[in-house]
């Protein structure tokens, strides 16, 4: 048998145009939903409050700026980031969907129309200094916006003259973005790709060092928990409609078939498992919808809240269902977190634990790459680690679960590998 040449994606069931249409539609939907919740003047003043609020973990933009402004903030960032991909003529793959969806999710609690651009600018500067095109770093830039709260905190959270604050905040954001590209590549092998939110691990390291420097100069950040409640029915309904639509449209585009899901679910999901490339777009849409429904079901069963941060968790699960997450791999990890709730000193309804249950699925590849109970152990351990590492970066790294997940994977994966090799002998 002889096979030559690369695959031609023009034969894909959904081409680049359709994939961009999907991402632009998602952003438009978020904006429209936001605009139905509040009047335009209320939304505009809410957007200003969101931009001017220090927004380290956990700052729910629905509480800060109102539901309308929070969703418009998220929708506009989706449209702008998708626009950047379109301008650079980047092919929409699973990683593109993961990057845009994680931005949409965290645009409900930490990323806003002001603070993300300094991180992107820093990565752009790094590319220019090294004489390389920015598009080769675009995903590091997108995921790297996890450090955006550093910009907001310095610009709006410290007592200095306004010009100094703005200059310092911009410099900190640009600096954070500038150091991310080499660190992202260097730190990826630490967890062997078993931590899906890799930039969370990288940003956690950068954030820890940055905050250590700040604190040793007398800069102290108080912990915060801005958490909205009382919108469960409306927001859960929105998410269910979104997920069911994804499953239905994906099923129809796939020739009214679930073909592709079975081989997809047999993958470990370890980085980089780009499901759009490997299995085409329609099965990926179905996987996104199904995993989203699992997240929603968990929130409902555990009597959790539907608000900016938890919706951010659902959007992140859905996004990474285009690059690594499957029902087979996320459920064991979530189960590990639930078991933690039974044996540890906290409750599953504690806000941070609600987020942990969703974002712990960053370790889904451990369940996929080893055995399901390894995923349970990973979730159980992670649910403890994540509660104590946030203090290292004072919540300035929005992907705190990615930071904790990197630490857990760095320790667990070599142990699991050692026993797997022994059993293979």
């Amino acid at each position: 048998m002889v096979l030559n040449g690369k695959l031609d994606f023009k034969k894909a069931l959904v081409g680049d145009g359709g994939r961009f249409f999907f991402l632009f539609s998602f952003g438009t939907l978020l904006c429209i939903f936001g605009m139905t919740r509040d009047s335009m003047p209320v939304i505009l003043s809410g957007l200003w409050r969101i931009a001017a609020e220090p927004d380290y973990l956990v700052t729910d933009y629905i509480e800060v700026g109102g539901m309308g402004a929070a969703f418009v903030n998220s929708g506009l960032l989706v449209l702008l980031f998708t626009g950047i991909l379109a301008l650079m003529k980047v092919r929409v793959r699973g990683i593109s969907i993961a990057a845009v969806f994680i931005v949409s999710g965290f645009a409900l609690f930490g990323k806003n129309l002001l603070n993300v651009w300094f991180i992107l600018g820093g990565v752009w500067l790094y590319a220019k200094v090294h004489g390389e095109p920015f598009f080769q770093y675009v995903y590091i830039a997108f995921f790297g916006t996890s450090l955006a709260p550093i910009v907001s905190q310095i610009m709006f959270g410290i007592d200095l003259p306004v010009v100094v604050r703005i200059a310092l905040g911009a410099a900190a954001g640009l600096g954070a973005g500038f150091v991310l590209p080499p660190l992202a590549a260097a730190l990826l092998p630490v967890h062997h790709g078993f931590n899906l939110y890799n930039m969370g691990f990288t940003s956690g390291m950068v954030g820890t060092i940055t905050v250590s420097l700040f604190k040793s100069h007398g800069f102290v950040v108080e912990r915060r928990m801005i958490w909205s409640t009382g919108n469960d029915t409306l927001l859960a309904s929105l998410l269910v409609v979104l997920c069911v639509s994804l499953i239905t449209v994906g099923f129809r585009l796939n020739g009214r078939s679930a073909a592709g899901l079975s081989p997809m679910w047999r993958q470990s999901g370890k980085l980089i498992a780009d499901f759009v490339d490997m299995f085409d777009f329609p099965p990926t849409m179905m996987n996104m919808g199904l995993n989203g429904l699992i997240g929603i079901a968990y929130l409902l069963l555990a009597r959790c809240d539907f608000n900016g941060p938890t919706i951010g968790g659902i959007f992140t699960i859905m996004g990474f269902s285009a690059m690594g997450k499957t029902p087979r791999t996320i459920v064991p990890v979530m189960l590990g977190t639930v078991l933690g709730g039974l044996t540890k000193t906290w409750s599953l309804t504690d806000p941070v634990v609600q987020l942990t249950a969703l974002f712990s699925t960053t370790l889904a590849p451990i369940a996929g790459g080893f055995v399901w109970w390894a995923g349970v152990i990973a979730g159980y351990v992670h649910s403890s680690v994540v509660l104590y590492v946030g203090v290292l970066h004072s919540g300035f790294n929005l992907y705190n679960n990615g930071f904790a997940g990197g630490l857990v994977a760095a320790v667990l994966v070599p142990l699991l590998e050692a026993f797997r090799r022994r059993s293979q002998r």
Binding site: L3, N4, K6, Q136, D277, P365
Partner: protein
């Protein structure tokens, strides 16, 4: 790409890991660099019925190059193998040719990576 030499060595490492997981006895890699590209030729044998794995490997090697993902992902190739990592080799290379002799249980892969 600043880390070109590391990327090429990781590509070879990934394929070596893959074939050793199929009990290869002889794995040969030949890399030629010129001004335009690296040409990587891999020849390996294997044991047992591995047709499905080789078919899947071939499919993943045929994934088109993704320059926008390289800086984010290249350092993962050549690490722990769960089977799907050949995808990384696919998106790091521009052309591929796979010759599989099922009776002799040998595979010859020719990859090029443009600079």
């Amino acid at each position: 790409m600043r880390d070109e030499r590391f990327v090429v060595s990781r590509i070879v490492s990934e394929l070596m890991t893959f074939f050793f997981a199929m009990n290869a006895h002889t794995f040969q890699a030949h890399v030629v660099k010129n001004e335009k590209q690296h040409a990587i030729t891999i020849e390996s044998d294997y044991e047992g019925d591995q047709d499905n794995k080789i078919r899947e490997m071939t499919r993943l090697l045929r994934m088109p190059r993704a320059r926008e993902m390289e800086n984010y992902s290249w350092s993962l190739s050549g690490d722990i193998s769960t089977g799907q990592e050949i995808y990384l080799v696919g998106i790091l290379t521009d052309t591929v040719s796979v010759e599989h002799d099922g009776e002799a249980k040998t595979v010859r892969i020719v990859l090029t990576r443009e600079l």
